[in-house]
């Protein structure tokens, strides 16, 4: 509704009174019309009837007069006694309503017209001109005969005007009468209308009091809930829809109260372990640092990294890994709380992500006490953990740092703890190490890792693992995703997130990306030669670097070198980087578009902002975050998210790939919601090139050898 805003009361008043008015106007018009018609008819009929009755009476009278005159005219006519005829005619003409009276001969010629000079003498009576030709006239005649022989005739003209006048007068009178009656009726009707309208207003007022007021109260309440009000809505003891609305508002408000807390909780806690997350940990750390600045006591930080956790994940899968982490978290927090280590709740265990945990130890400033805590942690984890009927013994490498001893900046503290942790790893794992300044400088582990990375990049010692991407409808492999692997001689398997971060920080990321593109295209070229020319290869490239022409030109050069179409390469950009960089990287996006290289968004679905802007981003496809695929078997909400993302992407013509598909149930659901592609352990784990080749050969059935183009999935 535009312009005029009306309250419910006003609407009801308008509606009711409008209805009343419409009905009255229609009925009134109908009645009036009918009355008008009827009255006109009555008027015409009555007036007409009267006129015709009077008319026939007049004619009858005229005839009688003519007959009498004819009798009287016998002698005068016989004797041509003009005087007697004149006397007779003058007398007749003097009668009311007699327009003329004449005597004619047998030929119809006028003998006398009653005038002194008889100027009409000899004229035909039927042509007799009567002054007012418009005046209605009845012409009556009677033969004048003597002894059976006709002598002539008497003709008189009887004016019918009186009849018409009477008729008209009657019509007028009837018309006046009808008009008066109609006026009376209109007056009555106006009174009825007034009464009805008043009743309508009253009714509207009642409805207002009964409905509009509570609705307005509830609306006010709802508005205040929107502004943060959390108490119960105004009491509505009623069983109707308004009561239901109040109850719903109450429920909604309650849910809001709950979910507001929940949101708060989720924002600062790890959903898996329920431990404080990285954000919360940093917040707590910051609080402590602030406290020290105003004279508070110091604290220690333990950085715990589980050894060989990847083994659990790789052996049993993602879910088992999660279960394992949960057990670790529970055991740690229990131990820290119950073994007398936690004085006055001063210890806070947090999970930073993956297999990294931290402990904020308030008041712990002595290395001895820190080491005591670390030892307790290692001891706690030493006991094997059973997951899915398999027992795993894993250790932990722990780095310890103290504030303010080692610094008073939270990032510095975290870096220190991290470095100490690496020192512990280098020391042979399952041990702890207290930070000291010797760990800064070139000999640090960090620098060592950077150097090592540079070495491997130069030596092309990094490897790529490939995970097939299949078509949901028939399981045919359409693409492979290249995943970088670094096996460190000392540290063992280094998480990609970790060495990518190192590469970014040390300016080697471009080098790394170039390595990935080169290797992927090389392997892809080989695959094509092996008869899998339809396959596309996916590479994860930090979009940040798309701004730099070097990587773009490298891609162009390599594509050209291997004689591959741009469509054979896909660049995956992580969702969190899309918004931050892709728009700025429009040069890169444009260049990739020129090359025909599609951009896919990785780990999609966790950021509202991307959802909102998905249709304006220069992307060709979406990879749904594995979190939502995990959730397919778990909860309705996650299912809905996967479905919503799929539908939304399809609506704007983007194909969808589901990551982390591990169960048949998930695949079925993906088929149900019409997802296009999928990857995950259900189909294949990431594997070296040689294994991939074997896998592809085994999977060949149902493969038509054709490159699945993105356009095939754009509806």
């Amino acid at each position: 509704m535009s312009g005029l805003r009306l309250s419910l009361t006003q609407r009801y008043a308008l509606l009711i009174n409008g209805t009343i008015l419409v009905v009255i106007v229609l009925l009134g018009a109908l009645f009036l019309n009918k009355i008008k018609d009827t009255s006109a008819e009555i008027r015409e009929q009555s007036g007409g009837e009267l006129a015709s009755r009077i008319e026939s009476q007049l004619v009858e009278n005229g005839q009688r007069l003519a007959d009498g005159l004819a009798e009287r005219a016998v002698n005068p006519l016989y004797a041509l006694d003009m005087r007697s005829l004149r006397d007779m005619l003058v007398e007749a003409s003097a009668s009311d309503g007699i327009e003329y009276a004449v005597v004619t001969d047998t030929e119809g010629r006028i003998l006398h017209d009653g005038s002194l000079t008889i100027e009409s003498f000899g004229q035909q009576a039927r042509w007799l001109d009567v002054g007012d030709t418009e005046a209605p006239l009845a012409r009556v005649s009677a033969p004048v005969s003597l002894g059976g022989e006709q002598l002539g005739a008497v003709h008189i003209g009887v004016s019918l005007t009186p009849a018409l006048v009477q008729g008209e007068r009657m019509k007028t009178q009837l018309g006046d009468l009808m008009a008066a009656r109609t006026r009376d009726m209109m007056t009555s009707m106006a009174i009825y209308v007034l009464v009805l309208l008043l009743a309508g207003l009253l009714l509207a007022a009642v409805i207002s009091r009964r409905f509009a007021t509570p609705i307005r109260q509830l609306a006010d309440y709802a508005r205040e809930v929107g502004r943060g009000r959390r108490d119960a809505p105004p009491a509505m003891e009623r069983g109707d829809e308004i009561g239901m609305l109040a109850a719903s508002l109450d429920a909604m408000s309650r849910d809001l109260r709950l979910s507001a807390g929940e949101v708060d909780y989720l924002a600062y806690h790890d959903s898996l372990t329920r431990l404080p997350n990285r954000a919360q940990f940093k917040r707590l750390l910051r609080e402590e640092v602030e406290r020290i600045r105003v004279g508070g006591r110091g604290f220690g930080v333990l950085f715990i990294d589980l050894d060989q956790f990847k083994q659990v994940n790789d052996t049993l899968g993602h879910e088992a890994g999660d279960e394992f982490l949960t057990i670790v978290a529970n055991r740690l927090s229990e131990r820290l709380q119950t073994a007398g280590l936690d004085y006055d709740g001063e210890l806070t265990l947090a999970r930073l992500g993956g297999d990294e945990f931290t402990v904020l130890a308030r008041g712990v400033t002595e290395p001895a006490r820190g080491e005591q805590l670390a030892a307790a942690v290692i001891e706690t984890l030493a006991e094997p953990i059973e997951v899915q009927a398999q027992a795993f013994s894993i250790g932990a490498s722990i780095g310890i740092t103290f504030c303010p001893r080692d610094g008073d900046d939270l990032n510095v503290l975290l870096r220190n703890a991290d470095r100490a942790m690496y020192r512990a790893k280098e020391a042979g794992r399952n041990t702890f190490c207290v930070y000291d300044r010797s760990m800064d400088g070139t000999a640090t582990r960090q620098l060592s890792l950077e150097a090592d990375l540079r070495d491997v990049l130069n030596a092309n010692d990094l490897t790529l693992a490939y995970q097939p991407i299949v078509r949901v409808t028939d399981g045919a492999v359409v693409a492979v995703e290249a995943l970088c692997r670094w096996h460190h001689p000392v540290l063992g398997y280094v998480q990609p997130s970790r060495f990518v971060q190192i590469a970014e920080q040390s300016g080697q990321i471009e080098h790394l990306d170039q390595f990935v593109v080169s290797q992927l295209l090389h392997d892809l070229s080989q695959l094509h030669d092996e008869g899998f020319a339809h396959l596309a290869g996916s590479a994860n490239i930090a979009s940040l670097h798309l701004r730099k022409p070097a990587i773009l030109e490298h891609i162009a050069e390599r594509l050209d070198y291997y004689q591959l179409d741009g469509e054979h390469l896909r660049i995956e950009v992580r969702e969190k980087n899309v918004m931050r960089h892709l728009e700025h990287a429009s040069v890169g996006a444009r260049r990739l578009r020129e090359l025909g290289v599609p951009i896919w968004i990785d780990d999609f679905g966790t950021r509202i902002a991307t959802l909102k802007h998905i249709d304006v981003l220069p992307v060709s496809g979406i990879k749904i975050h594995s979190e939502f695929i995990d959730g397919i078997s778990a909860g309705q909400n996650q299912r809905v998210v996967a479905q919503a993302i799929t539908e939304m992407c399809h609506n704007i013509g983007l194909p969808v790939t589901a990551e982390g598909v591990e169960h048949q149930e998930q695949l079925e659901y993906l088929q149900e919601i019409g997802a296009d592609f999928a990857q995950g352990y259900l189909f294949a784990r990431p594997m070296p090139y040689d294994d991939l080749l074997g896998y592809l050969r085994r999977q060949r059935k149902g493969d038509d050898g054709r490159l699945i183009l993105l356009s095939d999935y754009i509806r």
């Binding site: 004797a79 041509l80 003009m82 005087r83 004149r86 002194l116 000899g122």
Partner: protein, 306 residues
């Protein structure tokens, strides 16, 4: 009152008056004033004042009263006069001659009826007609008013006879007269005569001067369309005659009384009541001449107009 009843009443009154008169002859000194009129009731009122006046005037002669007798037609009057039962009557010129000739009556005086001593008859034709004089009337039809009319029948008819025209009575004005003769009809009313001429029903009409001047009888529109083709000699408007055997003294006394009336202021109203009479006087020479001529023409006239 219906015409039948009026007629009966008239007859009854006449008989009564006759009876009175008859008885009066035995008793001396009653003068009987007669009149021919078809409406005795109306006419009685005109006669009564002068009858009373004359009675008073004649008292010295022994006349004790003047009685009035009104009869509807001339022949009856003629008989009564012959029988000596009517002493005095006021007549038209022709009626007077008739009584003188047939009943031995004598002319007594001239009466200025309607204030007029003498009058003439006018012959008129339509302007469109080719009739110029009475000589042109052969083969044409002339309309008179009434058999009893002096000015509109006797006098002009006599004149036509003197003209040497053969007159032929016709039943209807629309008939054609026999070859060589002139037809005549009675119109029954002066107005009819005028209309008949105006509408070409007859060729010539005859009316007295007084009628001619009366717009109700001859409308001005007619006058414009009419042409007078002949005019009669003047004749007395009315003539008083007395019975031949009336006592000469009485007759003289009556004449004197009548002649003196217009000088008697008290009598003027009486005169006027009697048909607008202005005075009584002696017949002029011309009148006498005219009356003589009528008297001479009467036998032949009676032959011609039976």
């Amino acid at each position: 009152m219906g015409p039948e009843l009026a007629k009966q009443l008239r007859q009854i009154i006449a008989v009564l008056l006759l009876l009175c008169a008859t008885s009066a002859t035995a008793a001396p000194r009653v003068l009987v004033l007669g009149a021919v009129h078809d409406d005795p009731n109306e006419h009685y009122a005109a006669l009564k004042p002068i009858a009373d006046y004359v009675a008073a005037a004649l008292a010295p002669t022994g006349i004790e009263s003047v009685e009035i007798v009104i009869v509807p037609d001339r022949s009856q009057m003629l008989n009564l006069m012959r029988d000596g039962r009517i002493d005095w009557i006021s007549e038209t010129a022709f009626g007077a001659v008739h009584l003188v000739e047939r009943a031995g009556a004598e002319f007594l005086a001239r009466r200025w009826k309607d204030g007029t001593a003498e009058y003439r008859s006018l012959f008129f034709a339509h302007n469109d007609s080719d009739i110029e004089t009475l000589d042109d009337l052969a083969g044409r039809t002339v309309a008179f008013e009434h058999r009893n009319s002096t000015s509109a029948f006797f006098a002009p008819a006599v004149m036509l006879g003197e003209q040497g025209l053969t007159l032929h009575a016709m039943a209807s004005p629309r008939e054609a007269p026999p070859p060589g003769s002139s037809g005549y009809v009675f119109s029954g009313a002066e107005y009819n005569t005028a209309v008949w001429v105006d509408k070409g029903i007859v060729d010539v009409g005859v009316l007295s001067e007084s009628n001619w001047r009366d717009a109700e009888t001859v409308p001005p529109a007619f006058i414009e369309r009419f042409r007078i083709i002949a005019v009669s000699e003047p004749m007395p408007r009315a003539v008083e005659v007395v019975r031949g055997g009336l006592d000469a003294d009485v007759a003289d006394a009556l004449r004197e009384a009548l002649f003196a009336m217009h000088e008697d202021a008290a009598a003027l109203q009486v005169l006027n009541a009697f048909e607008g009479t202005a005075r009584f006087d002696a017949l002029s020479d011309t009148d006498i001449d005219t009356l003589s001529r009528i008297r001479e023409a009467l036998p032949g006239f009676r032959e011609q107009f039976p």
